[in-house]
Symmetry: C2
């Protein structure tokens, strides 16, 4: 649709980036995947697999990969960044060397920058000349997207053009992309849900049931919305795919790394031992710290987020944190949202 | 707390009524359970069990039961009705013979009256002299409440006095009861979620994953909110325990009868065979019809509810209904809610 040679460049060959690039190529788009390691690029190009991040999956044969950023960035109408939050600024700065102001720049990274507390779209704005920035979020566990199961996502941007471009890329595929305008809410949803997923894992680790988890998810959603509204997001976003949708998928799934960390905490394992054994990033751990800092600064009362932080940072036992939550009085359910 | 001899009479000895009465008695309230069958009343009083509806559970020894309505109704400060929707009007009328206008009347029944489309609180108002009416709803799978796992619920009423009385009854127990004012939204949430639970069962029956289910739950929540707002409910209620909370618990749980029906539909079993094999009521089936009627009358576009109705009433294959849903264009996510 564009005069550029590529419809889309996906930046980041982890599980999520690979899944997105595969969907887009299978959907007939001219898609390329940038990966850091040349041997993975070669594997994608020659064998149409990415055994490190999409084990067992056959990638769309039309998908090409590269380990060189510059030429591909210049060719792409849309650049979609999907790298872990801790690598985000470095990658954004590298992109910034090559992007031109008319290009569309979207990210799918769920996290907050440690230290600064900045959202990923803020980093993109700081490190590139692009104005047309958006975020893609929602319940999209990579392995299931790769398997071709129907899924939904949300693209949010201040610019209708960004929303329309991303919806066009995925139109007709098994990933239904809805549109929205609330960038802040969409980014907060995707980050905050990992904190609640940790807590949901604790509930499962303690052997509690679906009622308890539903209580946690619902009150966690309310905290997420309070936090997001305080940062400038729109409350309704949290009732959508980037809020409750992503939260439900992550809390239900045994594929979620944050959920797994919580479950092991619930069973009494110490955090250090859990983190030491992980091969992938569990974004919920740093996000819990970032949320806690912001909540203190803004004087927000977020009991579940505070409990997760206490377990992670202060060594409170998960079982005691749950007991303390239950001992709080239950007031007016909507008090925090209705009278905002 | 009251001058009456009983703090609470729970009307209905099914699984939910028994669980509520048990929690209340274990929480030190003077609680009695009314059951239709005298032999069950005797079993509760003598052996502290209800093997038909709470198999394996030891009931609080302080809980008494009766099969005679009149004397117990007069003694109770709060009457809490938990009978299936199809028996609701008959039981309400029987209560109406004995209730006095100062008594507090609350129900925990999730359904809509067939034919009239009326909500349970409307039936209570029609059949009794009570004005102080409320509804108790939320994610409270009976077996888990019975097991003592932490759970949350919402009591909604136009009267603060009703909310306070019910919160007082449960204060200190493992059932956290939040308060609200939106009776319509709370009743719609509890009913509509069974329709979405049927659809979630279909998704599981078809072998799709957590992404697909999260998409369904999120879009189903949006339909529930549209429907509830059209009936006069408040949109925020659907983000709370009676909306998303109950929806999440029901869609996740294999204990949910509606989920089970959907799962068997997804696997290709005909509805007649499924219904013939059930020993309990699956409220989602009649509710899907009631919602469909109302949606037509009010010209609401509720694609998931319509798909469930098509499978149940028109014999559409579950697999084809899912395909048709996915073929719809994905627009602005919040269009239906934001511009209401």
């Amino acid at each position: 649709v564009s005069k550029r040679a590529l419809d889309v460049l996906v930046v980041g060959g982890g599980s999520f980036g690979t899944a997105l690039a595969h969907v887009l190529a299978a959907n007939g788009r001219r898609a390329r995947l940038w990966v850091r390691r040349p041997e993975i690029a070669a594997e994608v190009n020659e064998r149409h697999t990415n055994t490190a991040y999409a084990p067992g999956a056959a990638l769309a044969p039309a998908l090409t990969a590269t380990a060189e950023l510059a030429p591909s960035v210049r060719e792409a109408a849309v650049v979609l960044v999907a790298v872990p939050s801790r690598a985000f600024r470095e990658v954004a700065a590298a992109l910034g060397e090559h992007l031109e102001g008319d290009q569309i720049l979207v990210h799918g990274t769920k996290g907050i920058e440690l230290g600064t507390g900045k959202r990923m779209s803020e980093i993109l704005r700081e490190e590139t000349c692009c104005l047309k920035i958006g975020v893609l979020s929602g319940p999209s566990l990579a392995a299931e997207v790769m398997a071709g199961h129907p899924a939904g996502a949300l693209v949010a941007s201040r610019f209708d053009e960004v929303v329309a471009a991303v919806q066009r890329l995925f139109a007709g595929s098994w990933l239904r992309v809805y549109g929205g305008r609330d960038v802040v809410g969409t980014e907060v949803g995707g980050s905050f849900k990992n904190v609640i997923a940790l807590a949901a894992g604790v509930v499962d680790g303690l052997g509690l049931g679906d009622n308890t988890k539903a209580l946690l998810v619902t009150r966690g959603l309310s905290e997420m919305a309070q936090f997001g509204v305080a940062l400038g997001g729109e409350v309704f976003t949290f009732g959508g795919l980037a809020g409750v949708g992503d939260l439900v998928a992550t809390c239900a799934s045994e594929l979620s790394r944050n959920h797994q960390v919580g479950e092991r905490l619930g069973k009494g394992e110490p955090l250090e031992a859990i983190l030491a054994s992980l091969t992938h990033v569990a974004e919920g751990v740093p996000t819990a710290r970032a949320v806690h800092q912001q909540a203190l600064r803004r004087r927000l009362d977020l009991p579940i987020a505070a409990a997760v932080h206490a377990v992670i940072a202060d060594g409170t036992r998960a079982r005691d944190a749950v007991k303390a939550l239950m001992a709080r009085p239950a007031g007016d359910e909507l008090a925090q949202l209705r009278y905002r």
